[in-house]
Amino acid sequence: MNNKIGDVGEQDKYLIDISDDDVLTAMKEIGGYLDITFGDFKELYHVAGSHALKRLMLSVKAMDIMTKKVISVNKRTPAKEIAELMARHNVSGVPVVDDEHVIGIISENDFLSRMGKKEIKSFMNIIARCLEDRGCLAVPIRNQKAEDIMTSPVVTAREDTPVLDIVNLFSEKNINRVPILNQEMNLVGIVSRADALRTVIPAIKG
């Protein structure tokens, strides 16, 4: 589910689809003569529902859903330590922090793309190469440090940024996590796609 959750006007596809039979049953339960057709009702439901979804996603801010204990590294952390850290904490990306400011971010993709040869673009390529017994592909970055492999500048958001905007950032910038900064531009948290999804799904389920 890495597509555009936040696109205004497309949110209704995240609403539960209701059938004519559902509307029929509801109208029978409510009783009396309801002066509305199934078509009008379903249209109202979808339009009102996507407004509700948008309202929920605008009212929930980054600070409400962010992970506050951020696993981060400094610019001189060696690649090996970064990899170990990411593995131990089971995260797919870490911000690079220098004097409390975020100067870059390192994701699994940064490792892959810095591992030299052009054909290494995906994790499965590495598996394939290992299975061919052609040695460790990570050798080229063995002596590199965080500042050598990080992506910089980094896309960040503020504590009070609505989740809707963060979800839009994910799809526009094609990124998977956004470091969250406070007024003083210090790192206070991180929001991943998974964090955002956990906000949207209860909203859909009502």
């Binding site: 004519d20 029929l24 109208m27 009783g31 009396g32 003569y33 002066d35 057709t37 199934f38 078509g39």
Partner: protein
């Protein structure tokens, strides 16, 4: 082909209503029409006034039979009838020599103005038309037509609706006033 495709419709008809809904629609309509036609035939039959006009039958369908409809709310009932009556009388006065034109103009303009004033009430179209094609007695009323029978009749029917529609537990009227 899109033009003809639209004529197929898109969905099925809504469910029917319960016996209690049918019964209370009948009771409300009977009492409402009894009130206006009672006044008409028993109290003012010797005068030049009229109290009952055909469009009240149509109003009864809405305010006793489809009480949740926006078209049946007090704003629409009273506003729609009075506005349409004024438009109908004006059209007759201006274009009485050209009846087909006066009739068409009265109904079309009534609908447009009811829409614009959020008072759309289908029987209003009939109220406007009756002002044009009505009897000499109606024509003689002039703009008084908008007060009696139209305004007063609508108010009497509204009072009956407020009483009859709120007796059963599962019915409630109106949804809103203004």
């Amino acid at each position: 082909m899109k033009f003809f495709d639209k004529m197929k419709g898109t969905t099925k008809s809504p469910p029917g209503v319960s016996l209690s809904e049918i019964s209370w629609s009948w009771i409300g309509a009977f009492l409402g029409m009894a009130a206006v036609s009672g006044i008409h035939y028993n109290m003012i039959s010797d005068t030049d006034l009229v109290m009952v006009i055909g469009s009240f039958g149509a109003s009864a369908v809405l305010i006793y039979g489809a009480i949740k409809s926006p078209l049946a709310q007090p704003r629409n009932l009273i506003g729609g009838h009075i506005i349409s009556a004024l438009i109908g009388v004006a059209c007759y006065k201006l274009f009485a020599s050209n009846m087909w034109f006066a009739s068409s103009l009265a109904v079309a303009t009534a609908i447009a103005v009811m829409h614009a004033t959020k008072t759309l009430h289908p029987p209003g179209g009939a109220t406007a038309l009756i002002a044009v094609i009505g009897s000499n007695k109606i024509h003689a009323l002039g703009f008084l037509y908008a007060v009696v029978p139209v305004g007063l009749g609508a108010v009497v029917m509204l009072i009956v609706a407020l009483i009859a529609n709120n007796i059963p537990k599962n019915r409630r009227y109106p949804e809103y006033w203004l």
